[in-house]
Each structure stands twice: as structure tokens, then as C-alpha cells.
């Protein structure tokens, strides 16, 4: 199997789906002539032309609102937000329109749309361009929220997202485009709404997703050297949330740490841990801990920024704490 980067995997998924279905088109800021600010759609403009790779004005309401309308009449737009921080400019469409239209009109409307958005900190972009606000989007019924942690999942999940008849927010991480992994060529589908085990272990469960997976895998290597075998559950989809593998693993290890890049308060970890206690309280041998971003706006300075973001060492420390 070919080892390719996350960027290539996403690019592959987009291209395969555009080749497969003429209803699929891309719209967003600098997706065309520029080739995408993260170079994901490099070459697309030349291959598919301006009709299918649409450069938009810098106007997030027009981008997401327009994509919703096109989806309602049967197209399958992929709307790109240059960063997820610009989603706030189009919040009404992402949380108040797209997820409600099917329900509010008695099932008459369908919004088969994907919003691709780049999130995450660690690139010294300052507080307004570095956020991981995944949890707030996952709050809204009607929206599907996906955030892959491996190139293979990125490809398989994105292909599912494009074929889904629901609006899907697909969150990529700004620092992970160069991450390499084995990715099956051609038709490769990963179902939405399914968590998975990314590493098996018997001593402790680490629940995470996206950038947290990269950090947790590194932490697990260090822990293994100390004789601790961590099992890593990757959520992959935040809504609808699949707790099956999480609970199964926790019932086996009885100890768990939840790792996310976003803020701890009201975060993904808060939801996951609540559900673990609600559904498997009797299996807990120690309080479940959360590793997350410090409760500050992310600063520009490199060392301050890294001090705010969750680190591999934070995960190792938390695991040792729950194993005490």
C-alpha cells in the first residue's frame, strides 16, 4: 500500500469523487487559480476548470449559504473555509440553517454538502487564527462533524462525507498535512459515525481524535517503554458520536484519559467522559482525566503557544496518574 501524506489523501478523495459524480464541485477562497492555501486543490483548476473549482469572494456567508442552496437543488458542493476560524463569520449557515432545513420543513429539503475547514493551533498565527472549536459545532443536531487523524481515514471519511445526504463539517488540522500513512488506492470508504481502535493495549484507554491521535500515539510509544500498554480509541466523527469502542475498551482497562486539542471547558472530553460515567461508572478504577488546551486565547510566541497546547508529556503524566 502506498504511503502518502494527509494532503495527498484529501486531494485524492476530492479528485476521485469529482471524477465519479459530476454534481460534485468545489467553492471557496483561493481554491482555484491559487491552488488552495494549503495546496490541497493544487492542479484542480486546470483539470476541472472554473465551473467546478470556483474561486469565491472573501464572503463566508455567500460561500456556505450559496453551497446550501446549490445542495438543496441537487448538487453536491464542497465549500472550503480557509480556516475554521472563519466559520464564525458564517455561523448562521453552519449551525442554524444547514442542520435545520431537513427537519424544519418536514423532510422536504436535503443539504448534501461538505464544509472543509482547517483548524488547530501550533503555527504561531495568533489567537483568532489558531482555534480548535470542534465541540461547539458538534453541539448541533442535524450537522455531522468529522475530524480525521490519519491519511487513510481522511480519504475514506471525506469520500463518505461527499456521498452523504447530510451537511458534513470536515475538520482538518493545519499541522498535519505532511503526516504520512498507508492509504489504499482508489475506492476506499470509511463510514461516518464510527469510532475505531488505532492501537491495542490492556492497561489504559486513551480516547482522542485528529491531532490528539498523533500526540497519543507518541505518548503510547513512551509508555510502552515503561511497560504500560495503552489502547487508543479514535473518535473520528464527533457527531453522531460512536461510544461503542470507547466503552468496550474502558470496560477492559478500567482507566482512561481523554485527549483533545480544544479547550477543556465544555469540550469533547467533557462529553465523552460524561457518557463514560453515565454508561460505565462501575467499571472505573480511577477518575477519568482530560488533557486539553489551557484556558487561554492562543498566544503568538512559540514557547507560550506550545505551553498552552496539549503535549505528549501531558498525556504520559495523565496516564500515569490514572494508573496510580
Amino acid at each position: 500500500m502506498a504511503k502518502i501524506t494527509m494532503r495527498e489523501a484529501i486531494s485524492q478523495a476530492l479528485m476521485e469523487e469529482m471524477d465519479r459524480d459530476p454534481a460534485v464541485f468545489i467553492m471557496g477562497e483561493e481554491v482555484g487559480v491559487w491552488g488552495g492555501t494549503y495546496a490541497v486543490t493544487k492542479g484542480f483548476y486546470d483539470k476541472y476548470g472554473p465551473e467546478r473549482v470556483k474561486d469565491t469572494p472573501i464572503a463566508e456567508n455567500a460561500i456556505i449559504g450559496g453551497a446550501i442552496g446549490a445542495a438543496m437543488v441537487g448538487q453536491r458542493p464542497i465549500a472550503e473555509l480557509m480556516t475554521i476560524n472563519f466559520a464564525f463569520s458564517a455561523m448562521d449557515y453552519i449551525v442554524n440553517q444547514a442542520p435545520k432545513l431537513r427537519y424544519m420543513f418536514g423532510g422536504q429539503f436535503e443539504v448534501p454538502m461538505v464544509i472543509r475547514a482547517v483548524g488547530g493551533g501550533g503555527r504561531q498565527l495568533g489567537a483568532t487564527h489558531s482555534q480548535t472549536p470542534d465541540a461547539m459545532f458538534a453541539h448541533f443536531p442535524g450537522l455531522v462533524v468529522v475530524s480525521p487523524g490519519t491519511p487513510a481515514d481522511a480519504k475514506g471519511l471525506l469520500k463518505s462525507a461527499i456521498r452523504s445526504n447530510d451537511p458534513v463539517l470536515f475538520i482538518e488540522h493545519a499541522t498535519m498535512y505532511q503526516v504520512r500513512g498507508e492509504v489504499p488506492e482508489g475506492e476506499y470508504i470509511v463510514p461516518l459515525g464510527k469510532s475505531t481502535i488505532q492501537r491495542s493495549g490492556k492497561d489504559v484507554t486513551i480516547v482522542t481524535y485528529c491531532k490528539g491521535l498523533e500526540l497519543s500515539l507518541k505518548a503510547a510509544e513512551e509508555l510502552a517503554k515503561q511497560g504500560i500498554e495503552a489502547e487508543i480509541v479514535d473518535l473520528r466523527t464527533l457527531r453522531p458520536l460512536d461510544m461503542g469502542p470507547v466503552l468496550e475498551s474502558f470496560k477492559k482497562t478500567n482507566r482512561a484519559v481523554v485527549v483533545e486539542e480544544g479547550w477543556k471547558s465544555y469540550g469533547v472530553g467533557a462529553e465523552v467522559v460524561s457518557r463514560m460515567y453515565e454508561e460505565a461508572f462501575d467499571y472505573a478504577d480511577a477518575p477519568i482525566l482530560r488533557v486539553a488546551q489551557k484556558e487561554v486565547p492562543l498566544p503568538y510566541n512559540r514557547s507560550l503557544e506550545q505551553a498552552a497546547l496539549p503535549q505528549v508529556s501531558d498525556i504520559v503524566t495523565a496516564v500515569k496518574e490514572v494508573l496510580k
Binding site: 464541485f25 465551473e51 470556483k54 469565491t56 469572494p57 464572503a59 456567508n61 455567500a62 456556505i64 449559504g65 450559496g66 453551497a67 446550501i68 442552496g69 446549490a70 445542495a71 438543496m72 437543488v73 441537487g74 448538487q75 448562521d92 449557515y93 442554524n96 440553517q97 432545513l101 431537513r102 427537519y103 424544519m104 420543513f105 418536514g106 423532510g107 422536504q108 429539503f109 436535503e110 443536531p141 442535524g142 455531522v144 452523504s164 445526504n165 447530510d166 453522531p240
Partner: protein, 318 residues
């Protein structure tokens, strides 16, 4: 205007009036909940506009949508049932007064976030453009919606990409209780289209024949050029913004003055004056609208409530 079409338009205007008057009674009786925004006084706008469309043209509007729904061919039964939250309503009782739609009638919804449906309207037209269709999306909104960013992003996109949208601003002089001149830098809304290099026009919204003619001209322009068009229609709502509006922001003399220009009265006088219809014919249409309304109330009241199984239905694709 040909007789058959004129009589149909007259009938629709009277039907809107009767359905909403009964709606008021049912609201006051506690049978209709939530917000309810009446179209009374503005009937000529959507009636003239939608009479000028072809069936393949899409219509999308704001929350003052009962009239638009009826003009698009949604039955009074379904409108009334939706008001009463019944499963037989246009949106199965899950949308209410502000969210009526029927895609089979090309009525793409009442939408309740002010200005929020404008980029979506651009998107409907974008989808058609992408598919190679040459139909038009008619997007209606109030004067209040032209001060919010959505309006400007949508108009800019529509002109930049030449999307086939007829933007129709129903200028009813107030955004809720704030008069146009207190909220908008220009009181003539059509001027806002100029900034986007968009062809525009204006019509008297109390006279359905004028709305119809202006809509025909605008639609023809869009069909011929493939460019969008903004039509400002001056009108007035005779009732409050929604039920329970104390109306402190306007004087009763002002309301009375506009009510003297009742769009139904104006059109009736026109039909008689031009010998298009007789009193007898128009009285018969009045009676038919009354009967249709009565039937819709009976239908809605007799219809079942949505079952609890509907609560979790249609959140995601099955």
C-alpha cells in the same frame, strides 16, 4: 390583462386575506402558537409577482410567508394545518407559520432569520446555473433585510457570477418597528443594487397590475441577459409586525391612509372599471374564498397532531 388570470389573482388575494383573518381568530383562541406575521395589506406583492413566474421558477421568501405559499399553489388546507401544527401541514407541523414550503410547487420556504435566505437563494440559482438550467429564482425579503451583511454578500455574488435571481424587496416601510429612514442609509432600497452594477426597478405594491407588469419586465430581462435584477416594491402592512405588536412606532392616521389604498379594493375597482369582471362574478369569488377558508379551518382542526415518533424523524438522512 386576460380575464381568467385576473380573476385568479383576485381570488388569491381575497383567499390570503380570509385565511389570515381566520388565523388571527385561531391565534387569539390559543390554537396557533409562536410568532405569526400577517401579510394583510401586502397581498398584491406576492400575487402579482408569482402570477408572472413560470412554474419552473423557484420562489423563496422570509417569514411573512402565508400569502406566498398560497400564491405558489399550496392549498389553504395545508397552510392552515401548518399554522395549527398538524401533521397534514406543509411542513408536517414542524415548521409553523414562518416555515412553509412545498418543493413540488417550487416554493422553497419561508425563512425566519432576517436576510439569511438571500445567500441560499443565490445558491439555488447557483445550483441551476451549474446544472445548465435557465430558470429563475425569485427571492423576496423585507426592507429590513437590506441592512444586514447577508444581503450584500448575496447581491455581490449574484452579480459577480451572474446568477439568475430576481431579488424582490418588499419595502413595507418598517423593519419590525423601525422606519426605513431610521435604519437604512438610503430610503430608496433599489439604490443599493446600483453599488453592485445590478439592473433595478421600482413598483407600486398596492396595485397588483403594476407589480405584475414590473415582475414580467424584470423576469424577461433576466431570461434575456442571464443577469440578476432587483425590484423594489413599495407596500404597507395593515397589521402589526407580528401578533402582539403594540404599534407605538406609527400613527393610526398613517395606517388609515394606507388602508384607503387596500390592494384588494384597488384591484376590484380596476376589474369593474375595465369591464373585466362584474360585481356578481367578484362576489362569487369572495364567497368561494370564504368557503375555502372555512373548509381549511375544518380540515386543520380535524387533522391529527404529529405523533411522538415524528420527534426524531428527519434530523439526518434515513
Amino acid at each position: 390583462m386576460e380575464k381568467e388570470k385576473s380573476l385568479q389573482m383576485y381570488y388569491e388575494m381575497v383567499l390570503i386575506r380570509r385565511v389570515e383573518e381566520r388565523g388571527v381568530e385561531l391565534y387569539q383562541a390559543g390554537k396557533i402558537g409562536g410568532f405569526m406575521h400577517l401579510y394583510i395589506g401586502q397581498e398584491a406583492v406576492s400575487t402579482g409577482l408569482i402570477a408572472a413566474r413560470e412554474p419552473r421558477d423557484r420562489v423563496i421568501t422570509a417569514y411573512r410567508d402565508h400569502g406566498v405559499a398560497l400564491n405558489c399553489g399550496i392549498s389553504a388546507n395545508e397552510v392552515m394545518a401548518e399554522l395549527l401544527g398538524k401533521v397534514t401541514g406543509t411542513s408536517k407541523g414542524k415548521g409553523g407559520s414562518m416555515h412553509m414550503a412545498d418543493t413540488t410547487k417550487n416554493m422553497w420556504g419561508g425563512h425566519a432569520i432576517v436576510g439569511g435566505h438571500l445567500p441560499i437563494a443565490a445558491g439555488l440559482a447557483l445550483g441551476d446555473q451549474y446544472a445548465g438550467n435557465d430558470n429563475i429564482t425569485i427571492c423576496m425579503f423585507g426592507d429590513g433585510a437590506t441592512n444586514i451583511g447577508y444581503f450584500h454578500e448575496a447581491l455581490n455574488l449574484a452579480k459577480t457570477w451572474n446568477l439568475r435571481v430576481l431579488w424582490v424587496c418588499e419595502n413595507n416601510q418598517y423593519g419590525m418597528g423601525t422606519a426605513v429612514e431610521r435604519a437604512s442609509a438610503v430610503t430608496e432600497i433599489r439604490q443599493k443594487a446600483e453599488g453592485y452594477g445590478m439592473k433595478n426597478g421600482q413598483a407600486d405594491g398596492m396595485d397588483v397590475t403594476k407589480v405584475y407588469a414590473a415582475a414580467q419586465e424584470a423576469l424577461q430581462y433576466i431570461r434575456e441577459t442571464g443577469h440578476p435584477y432587483l425590484l423594489e416594491v413599495d407596500t404597507y402592512r395593515f397589521r402589526g409586525h407580528s401578533m402582539g405588536d403594540p404599534e407605538r412606532y406609527r400613527k393610526q392616521e398613517e395606517v388609515k391612509k394606507w388602508q384607503e389604498n387596500d390592494p384588494i379594493g384597488i384591484f376590484r375597482a380596476y376589474l369593474l372599471r375595465e369591464n373585466i369582471a362584474t360585481d356578481v362574478e367578484l362576489d362569487a369569488l369572495d364567497a368561494k374564498a370564504e368557503a375555502e377558508t372555512q373548509k381549511s379551518v375544518e380540515f386543520a382542526e380535524a387533522s391529527p397532531e404529529p405523533g411522538l415518533e415524528e420527534l426524531f424523524k428527519d434530523i439526518y438522512a434515513a
